[in-house]
Amino acid sequence: MGTDVFQIAVNCIKLVIVFLLMVQAVPLLVWLERRGSAFIQNRFGPNRVGPLGLLQLLADAVKFLFKEEFVPANAVKFLYYAAPVAALVPATLAFAAIPLSTPVSVDAFEMFGQTWGPYTFLWQGYEINVGIVYVLGVSSLAAYSILMAGWGSGNKFSLMGALRASSQIISYELALGLSIVGVIMMYGTFNLTEMIAQQQGTLSFQFLGHTITSSWLPNWGIFYQPLGALIFFAATFAESNRLPFDLAEGEAELVAGFHVEYGGFKMLLFFIGEYGHMLVASALMATFFFGGWGIPFVGVAEVQAWAATVVGAGTSASLLTGLVHFMVFTLKLAIFLWIFIHVRWTLPRFRYDQLMELGWKTMLPWALFNTVLTSIIFLIAHS
């Protein structure tokens, strides 16, 4: 956590901020989803409360808080109450491990008659050396909340939805895990920060003893692993139970799937969990394949030099640099989130057998193929 009081305090505050960052993104995303769907379907969407309808979600949250609190007669009380909380936790834990920007170095300064040594703070909840493994492991726990909700509600529709969701998540987790094996091989590390560091600058790689460089393409993972990126992105749709993979909710068949029996704020917690998974998926997509917080054509040193001319060198320049890169990362996140939303309102839902066929007979073999191909190319290129 840190060596002295100041560092520990800042790190604790950072954890809270990362959590709030995720939770606060949800109302904005819901607003974007409703306005975006209205835009796609040629209608207005919520536009009465506040400017552009931005306060609609605040009003909704207040309404959710004041809803009647009820438990279905057949429900298993403990599981029924635990499921919404369990839905929130995995996404939060995973998001906190993703590096959001460049580290901030704080010079030594005086406070309370004491000198506080130079620090380096990371723009993330905590750094883990095996970031990928941790994020995948934690987010695989999300399926339990769905199962708990399905079983705990004591409703046949809920149970059907939960069964569908769990079998879907098991099926697509294989493709998801395999699709990033190529990425891990390419960067030679599990550490997300090191991955981003390797994607800076312009495209350049070694092949058969020659160094091949491009003058304008950024050194992003997508140019090395296009198939892996495609499979990964498709599998994350299935993992976060979004259309076209939202068989677990299937309104036409299952009413609303695993959360039929939930109302009020408990239902909203499931919502936050789903959007949290979208956020994690988008952040991983940006980190693995699109350079993370890196700005194409502009290095970190150049941003730092610019920041030093604006606010003066030292702590504030470092902070400004971090802020700029954080904005870039947010922009990349926003693009992927918009793709998530756009796909939801563009594609129809799969049939269940089509879903399983896509997972096991299409995506899994292609992910395996990608892994084998990457390793063969590596063997040739480094020989």
């Binding site: 492991g137 726990l141 098991i170």
Partner: protein, 176 residues
């Protein structure tokens, strides 16, 4: 008590009580959920030992595996009959006593055998750098290759045995 010791004791109590719940609860659903909890607890203990890679793998592999078990329980079992089959009958009583005896023997054996080598200070320095997944992979595929492969065969045997047991006479979804 320093924070690390507190964390260790807290996690151990959670893990062990979840593990006990797996065995003691008669409802297979709760047993499966407790198993998941046990796995998460073990992963957390790995984290406190700085073995982050093992913790992550523990979560991915076992959380997924328990999920499969859960689905199996929900879809294949006649839950009421299963609860009765677990909690009644002379044969299952003998099986329980036998398993407890075997487990007790294992624990005692492990303590007796390991007290010399593990607790003594004559061990070679096996500690590699924190979460050295590379060293782990190299060790698994060179020095401990035989054990690794034998474990794979063992798991295969267990899988086949589970299917054979489930389909033999007396189970809730036996061949008719």
């Amino acid at each position: 008590m320093n924070p690390e010791a507190f964390l260790f004791w807290f996690l151990s109590i959670v893990t062990v009580s979840a593990g006990l719940a797996v065995v003691l609860l008669t409802n297979p659903i709760y047993a499966a959920l407790s198993l998941a909890m046990t796995m998460v607890g073990v992963a957390a203990v790995f984290v406190t030992l700085n073995a982050y890679f093992l913790a992550g793998v523990q979560l991915i592999v076992y959380a997924g595996a328990v999920m499969v078990l859960f689905v199996m329980v929900l879809m294949l079992f006649d839950l009421k009959a299963e609860i009765q089959a677990f909690s009644r009958g002379n044969l299952s009583g003998f099986l329980k006593i036998g398993s407890v005896a075997m487990l007790g023997g294992l624990i005692i054996g492990a303590i007796v055998m390991s007290s010399n080598s593990l607790l003594g200070n004559n061990l070679p320095d096996l500690v590699v750098e924190a979460d050295g997944s590379k060293q782990l992979g190299k060790l698994l595929f060179s020095k401990y290759l035989f054990g690794f492969e034998a474990l794979g065969v063992l798991l295969m045997v267990v899988a086949v045995g589970a299917v054979a047991l489930a389909r033999s006479k007396g189970g809730t979804h036996a061949k008719h």
